[in-house]
Symmetry: C2
Subunit: 307 residues, 2 copies
Amino acid sequence: MIDKLIEKIKKTGAPIVVGLDPTLKLIPPHILKAAFDKTGETPDGVSEAIFEYNKGIVDAICDIVPAVKPQIAMYETFGIAGLIAFDKTVKYCKEKDLVVIGDIKRGDIGSTSEAYAQGHLGKVILGGKEYRGFDEDFATVNPYLGSDGVKPFMKVCAEEKKGIFVLVKTSNPSSGEFQDKEIDGVALYKKVGEKVAEWGEELMGKNGYSYVGAVASATYPEQGKLLRKIMPNTYILVPGYGAQGGKGADLVHFFNKDGLGAIINSSRGIIGAWQQEKYAQYGEAAYADAARAAVLDMKEDISSALS
Amino acid sequence: MIDKLIEKIKKTGAPIVVGLDPTLKLIPPHILKAAFDKTGETPDGVSEAIFEYNKGIVDAICDIVPAVKPQIAMYETFGIAGLIAFDKTVKYCKEKDLVVIGDIKRGDIGSTSEAYAQGHLGKVILGGKEYRGFDEDFATVNPYLGSDGVKPFMKVCAEEKKGIFVLVKTSNPSSGEFQDKEIDGVALYKKVGEKVAEWGEELMGKNGYSYVGAVASATYPEQGKLLRKIMPNTYILVPGYGAQGGKGADLVHFFNKDGLGAIINSSRGIIGAWQQEKYAQYGEAAYADAARAAVLDMKEDISSALS
């Protein structure tokens, strides 16, 4: 799947992943109204509205980006109804041949981690038949529990030719509280990065990059530069661009000299573009066209930074 | 909710939480058969079987333990169908007045962490009505992202009078890979423990313990002893007893002098007791009675260790 991701990045010329992180405030009122008219103002109605909203965006961007990243928390907040919208969204994006990165930040140990991995990347077998739970292509994984937490995901990745992105340096202001603390003169995030590189060697794709990727934020470009060096074969998923403050120029050092090695996420900046002054001319009804325009602008911003 | 937990621990005399971590291998064949006869050998059938299995155990133990801890990974592995069984299990346990600790190990940042917190401990408001997602009483939380990840959970806990247990020192062999690494001569897990104590001061219950608890494993009793000292008002959720190797004697230092401050988890050791030689006389049909007997033995083991 890392090979498919790289091929699609090359084909679209856009090292961009669109975060499908719906909130009630981002969904255009006409979509909410249509759903609530059918179901009432309930979690089932929200579930339907989220899916319609996502579908519009996916239809508008699926030919110009390689991947999407639904953030499961935004669905899980509505319980089962929300997770049904997550499930439908993943399926729909895959129908549109997008690579789906499940931003699930799961992490546990042993058979428990394997259960998460099976539910999100793999399958269960019942009565000789395969059943897939959420079936994303990639998942984000939390490394705090060490190899015992990550290896079961890798096992499923090897079987399924899928991948993970391990949290290394997150985008938030307090990410330094633990991640930046020095261990024998080396920051924890760097230790984790070294481990990611080591894990990655066991699962290499054909294009020189591993199935085991890393998350490192655009809001910390210096740390990104360091991580790029110690994880040469690791694809870096880069959050923090746009709404969180990261700019095109901050992204340069996350890429390798081959122009590959990083994929930049934007969520609100794309899916909420219709609410921004810059894209106001699209209006609520054409929210998906606003998202497409925002993707094209982001692509341009990254291209000029890289050239 | 920490006060309710403490009252129930005092009333039952059992600082025990039963992990409801169902796997196909642990469910008695007659329960699987009954479910599959209705639905076919499908995830829906597994969902029904899991719930029936859990219900039997809950009915058999609800008067002798204060709390249960369903591990959501074991449900999530079956996708939506599995999560429906999780949801039903949480509701059923609450009907039986058990305190429910959702072992979800979630952790993200800002509004994303808040979305998880609302989905698992809080509510969403739609059309003036409250809707609750999974509605556990406590949730386990991963601290790798720092305060930005934990504070949104605390915000929801303050509103709902619910609690969290933050992962500090996990039970697995590789937990030391990052957690034991020394920062300025102090292990990371200890730094996290200090942070948990600090966070906890903001959310104190009436009984001298905080709504912000910690997870520290029985498989590392020395670390538990240290954590007990630096987090005097923190309730410690202790995994690793039983199947994972922790013994009664290892538990002593997790408790405070008031006999409180720790709650010990056992999962397979209780819910899979019917498969152990020691409880073989119960047979498959009386698997729930075997679970009850295993709880009573565990209670005895802890009591003698503490006295």
